[in-house]
């Protein structure tokens, strides 16, 4: 299985390299390291969100509320910043993450304790969280002139040649890689997704693992909320509307199986990078940005076809169905 995953990630790396080469043939500056780093920076938020979503998908769940969580948490810290410009940015980031964590925990509790299917729970909370963003803000926007310079500047601070935004993404990648591959909690997330029944017999608490996954994706949603508001210098009810689908798309393209248990940090990052690359490449090769949506749609479908092939080779389809009943 490991070899298969490696193969898949190599395939994605190949696709990304080919795409970059292809575009740089049309427009040579595209392949400049500085431009590529810029694209990485642009894609940071998507990468971080994809990592959070991946953890949830690993446990056979899905978090449709992640973008609404981003909006609400982002709105709350933006309003705090506008009202009390003196609060230091790290405190605001912690607040955003805690706020996101609480929202994620709410999802998780409903999934864990009441056993409501995750797609139903997060479908409901998706509308609730975004609606709450409207309620707390009264429908008003928080604009650039209301935000403190620190609030906006923090993600743009250059550290060792890279903006802080990129460093946050890199840090997230490392943290997720280590905790998913090297800790008991991380391995449990995989186990629960691969075979819930066996996990119970192995002494794992399936519901609690799902709860933890939702807490993680919630906290990530909150973090992304601050990053988004700081990056685009606007907090409104409409920000990141429908972005949960881009996040899921990144995961799917990255080879994370919606059936749970399969997927890697590398895959999620590459999936997000692929989408980021496409988005940034279109204007360069003179394609209307309106093509973006159709292209990512086609990419998702192709990726699913690839995923299905990989998963089918393991020949556990009948087994999986039998566990369910």
């Amino acid at each position: 299985m490991k070899a298969l995953l490696k193969y898949r990630e190599l395939l994605l790396v190949g696709a990304i390299v080919l795409l970059t080469i292809g575009i740089s043939l049309r427009s040579p500056p595209f392949a400049d390291p500085s431009n590529l780093l810029g694209i990485f920076n642009d894609t940071s938020i998507l990468i971080i969100l994809a990592l959070g979503q991946m953890v949830v998908i690993l446990t056979r769940s899905i978090d449709l509320s992640i973008a609404a969580n981003l909006t609400l948490s982002g709105m709350i810290v933006a309003m705090m910043n506008a009202a009390f410009p003196g609060i230091p940015v790290p405190v605001l980031i912690a607040t955003a993450m805690l706020c996101g964590l609480a929202l994620g925990a709410f999802n998780g509790i409903l999934v864990w304790k009441l056993d409501i299917p995750p797609i139903v729970v997060t479908l409901g909370t998706l509308t609730i969280y975004r609606g709450m963003a409207f309620v707390v803000s009264g429908g008003k926007w928080v604009n650039a002139d209301q935000m403190s310079p620190d609030f906006i500047g923090f993600t743009r601070t250059i550290i060792l040649g890279l903006p802080a935004m990129s460093w946050i993404a890199i840090l997230a990648i490392i943290v997720f890689y280590v905790s998913l591959t090297r800790t008991a909690v991380g391995r449990a997330l995989y186990a629960v997704g691969v075979n819930p029944t066996a996990s119970v017999y192995a002494g794992l608490n399936v519901g609690r693992s799902k709860f933890i996954a939702f807490c993680i994706s919630g906290a990530i949603g909150g973090l992304a909320g601050y990053l988004w508001v700081s990056r685009y210098v606007i907090a409104s009810v409409e920000i990141a509307n429908g972005y949960e689908l881009n996040v899921i798309a990144a995961c799917v393209i990255g080879g994370i199986s919606i059936a749970g248990g399969i997927g890697s940090v590398g895959g999620a990052v590459l999936g997000a990078l692929f989408l980021g690359l496409v988005n940034n490449a279109l204007p360069v090769i003179d394609v209307s940005p309106f093509w973006q949506m159709a292209i990512s749609g086609a990419a998702i479908i192709l990726a699913v076809i690839f995923n299905a092939r990989g998963e089918r080779q393991q020949g556990r389809l009948i087994l999986k169905r039998a566990e369910k009943t």
Partner: protein, 334 residues
Amino acid sequence: MTDTTPSPRIIPNRLDNPLRSALLSWETLLLAVAVAIFVINCFASPYFLDANSLSDATFNFTEKALIAFAMALLIISGEIDLSVAAIIALSSTLMGMAAQAGVDTPGLVAIGILVGIACGAFNGWLVTGLKLPSIVVTIGTMSLFRGISFIILGDQAYGNYPESFAFFGQGYVWWVISFEFAAFVVAAIVYWFLLHRTNFGRRIFAIGNNPVAAQFSGVRVARIKFTLFCLTGLMSGIASICITSRLGSTRPSIAQGYELEAITMVVLGGVNILGGSGSILGVVIAAFIVGLVTFGLGLLNVPGIVMSIFTGALLIVVIALPILFRMIRQRHRA
């Protein structure tokens, strides 16, 4: 009292009695909620209880409910279609294109329906032909279909639909009964019959409960699922005709978020999101609940986005409450 002969054992003509009674109670609960919301609305706003305003209220949910019926069948069979709103956008765009080229109303209707079916068939082929999970496939086709609309339209809009085309979204069949509401009633009856009174319907339940067993019992699982995707596409096409006609214009962002509202109706209506159970009656009541809530709040000048809090909360609360009650009852018994 002295009669000692054992009472004859009643053998139910259907084995799913506990399930049926559970469903019945679910629908009773829903109906109670619907009545409560209706009464609250009557007290909350003096404008509510009026034939014309109630007729206006139906426009809130009929288009989504049309899709919800087909979606209910699809979800009962264990699949899902998230691309329905994108199908609306694509077929509306192509209808708009044809209208610019001078195609008249019957032609537009045919285009709307055919595009819907074609999109549904594409979903169905990906899911049944290539054996892909429907939730991801339709997330993909959702971007693809709406993406094609964006490619065609960009930031433009199509207008100039023929005058007779306005009937589907703005016309009235009789008194205050709009065409949309009539279509909703007809669709409800057709889908109720299809799901609860035909072999086809029984097979949908069978597939949803256990596709492997259904396959071994001679049910053509793939073919039925394919048909269901086509039906969902068809209903999306019909909904697209209604909404395009009602708005009189097409933008690529048309009907954004409808898929979630249609699924909310289906789940609220008691259809098990994991497949295998559900009823059309529940979906009908759920459609009314969603419609009454949004219309009632609208009369109170509550903004649309705040209404969505109520819809979302309704979805979770209505599903969570019976589970909570069951848990409390079990704890008492133990």
